[in-house]
Amino acid sequence: MKVFPYLMILPNFLIFLLFIIIPFFYGLRLSFADWKGLGSPKFIGLANYIELMKDASYWSSILRTLKYAVIYLPIAILFPLFLAYQLVKNSKMKSVYRTIFYWPSMISYIVVGIGFRFIFGDTTGVVNYFIQLLGLPKASIMTSSTGAFIVLVLASLWSGTGGSMIIFMAGLENIPTTYYEAAEVDGATPFQRFLHITLPLLKPTLFLILITGIIGVFKTYGMVSVLTKGGPGDATKFVVQSIYDTAFQRVRLGYACAQSFALTFILALFTIIQFRLNNGGAVND
């Protein structure tokens, strides 16, 4: 029996077991309980899930998150793809631009949130300061639902573009140049080459970015908690913040676990649908 390979994966398996598998089943158990974080959980059967079905604020937060995903994800995929495509072609300044575009990805979400708040804050923001210097009326940016939403999308894009761009660049550089040369000889335009060579061969990378993007969007919390704290009202209060509030503001940890499992189920559903639609990200022959 080959023991060595299993020994090699043992450390990772133990970490996975300890921090993912065991908490997963512990959380599942708690989702059937009423628990305030202290004492023993009181098991209440399916009551949390029944309440969840009727919880309008939870489903509103899911819808808001979906809206954010629909608006943000296409830009968060196309923009890095565009940058990566340009940088792969430009071999001279590639390293410089790659560093410049990747830099924001290394900054903590919290810092990005504070920075954008400093820029776009209604009363103390830099943008409104300059608007007023020009003698124009102050803009309601963070106090308007739309304004706050746009600032959030901008901050997420600024912070997340670099990471996706690097992955796209790796994918693009793996496409053999002979395909492009042959297409060029055959008279294909740049757009035709992108459409018929780049996109199909980039499908596994696109699939990866899409899946991680959707999961990332549904997990959005850190930046929002600093930038808008879910406001104005609850215009940018996404599902993870809603779960956090249930757990630690309303102190209903059992119900928060049920909300988390509903979210897990939704994410799993999205992932399965995408797998089916994209044939698991496999390149078509």
Partner: protein
């Protein structure tokens, strides 16, 4: 060579075990008490001085301060207790204690509870006594109140109340704010820290409250009057909405001279004393409607069950909150002492401002103590009032809808 290396390793291991054993034996003589702590100002320094003194008096005890951000203190306590890693002591507030008190030691098991309670101001008793158990000991009290930019009020020719006999009514104050706003070319005249605890002072002054022993009280006529009066001030541009809508720091607006006054509390006095050089400021009396009020708050120290050093933790808490230590702590950290025998403190500065806040506390009814002291209640309405007040300001929710929602939250929680 390999054999030599192996022998050297074995010897090194044996020596390290021996030393480790030696150090653990000496460590066993000293009991370490972990203490969760956060600082708003310099109170961490004041507390550390007292800890150093206590450790000199009790060499068998070492108190290890673990800094925890205030925003995370509740979940940190819950998680550490659930994980079997409870600290010996934690700093707490009534809001935190409302959820964690079941994990706290009943101090009356170690001392005469009635004698202990008699040492502190009665208005905060519900903050540290839960279901008859003394779950913490008060270390300081805070009061909500009004801090004004004196330079701006003077420029507008508006006289600031100097004593309890000439306090503004809310109507008079609104008129005063109109003048101050116009005279100073301000966009907004006033900021209120937040829509829950700080605004509740206005609610109580209008005779309203979030709840009472019968359940939700937010739809009562007086509560509705408070809400509508506040809303009118927002609509008129007298109150800056950003601290409530975008959670902008009201203190920054006041310090930056962007508003002429702020409803805040005692904890800002030292900060403003140190940092505001561009204008004169002072604390003054909150306007009143049917009554005067503040909203008492404060910090307490609690010992946690299951730490294994409960007695040592309670001993330290009782020592550090005793008269002499409380006086030194509050004078250095610029706090109001919760002790009846420490009413007169010698502050290095802002003594007049503290006197104003002390007077506000002395004229405060029991509504705040119920809303913020009833176990778990503030969590039932706190989140909704924070996120729904902005909707009322933006017009996407009516006052009636807000009142109905908050009352439902409270009634569901209280089982009414």
């Amino acid at each position: 060579m390999k054999r030599l290396l192996a022998i050297a390793l074995v010897v090194a291991l044996a020596l390290s075990c021996a030393f480790a054993n030696g150090s653990s034996e000496s460590a066993a003589k000293v009991k370490t008490l972990d203490m969760f702590w956060w600082s708003d100002g310099n109170e961490g320094i004041a507390m550390q001085k007292l800890i150093d003194e206590y450790e000199t008096l009790h060499p068998e005890v070492h108190i290890n301060i673990i800094e925890v951000p205030f925003d995370n203190i509740r979940e940190k306590i819950l998680m550490s207790v659930a994980g079997g890693e409870a600290p010996a002591i934690t700093r707490t507030t009534e809001g935190v204690s409302n959820h964690c008190y079941e994990a706290f030691v009943d101090v009356s098991q170690y001392t005469d509870g009635e004698a202990l309670k008699s040492q502190f101001v009665s208005s905060i008793e519900s903050y540290y006594v839960k279901n008859g158990a003394i779950i913490s000991v008060p270390s300081d009290v805070t009061a909500n109140g009004l801090i004004v930019n004196k330079t701006m009020f003077d420029k507008a020719g508006v006289k600031i109340p100097t004593g309890p006999e000439d306090i503004w009514t809310w109507e008079e104050f609104r008129e005063a704010l109109r003048k101050v706003k116009a005279a100073n070319g301000l966009e907004y005249a006033m900021a209120i820290d937040n829509a829950s605890h700080r605004w509740s002072t206005m609610l109580y002054e209008f005779g309203g409250s979030f709840a009472n022993e019968n359940g939700g009280n937010f739809s009562s006529p007086n509560s509705v009057r408070a809400i509508e009066f506040t809303l009118d001030m927002f609509k008129e541009g007298l109150i800056n909405p950003t601290p409530w809508i975008t959670f902008e720091d009201a203190g920054i607006l006041f310090r930056g001279g962007l508003v002429a006054c702020q409803v805040s509390g005692t904890w800002n006095l030292q900060n403003y004393h140190d940092n505001i050089k561009e204008f004169e400021w002072c604390a003054t009396y909150m306007p009143y409607d049917v009554q005067r009020s503040s909203t008492p708050g404060g910090k307490q120290l609690a010992a946690l069950q299951g730490s294994g050093v409960e007695k040592e933790a309670v001993d330290f808490i009782l020592w550090v909150t005793a008269k002499e230590q409380s006086q030194r702590y509050c004078e250095e950290a610029m706090f109001v002492s919760p002790r009846l025998d420490c009413a007169e403190l010698n502050y290095a500065f802002c003594a007049d401002d503290f006197a104003v806040f002390a007077n506000e506390l002395a004229n405060t009814g029991s509504e705040g103590a119920f809303d913020w002291g009833y176990p778990g209640l503030s969590a039932a309405f706190g989140i909704d009032i924070t996120y729904d007040w902005p909707k009322v300001i933006n017009g996407s929710m009516t006052v009636a809808e807000l009142c109905a929602k908050i009352d439902k939250d409270i009634n569901d929680f209280m089982g009414k």
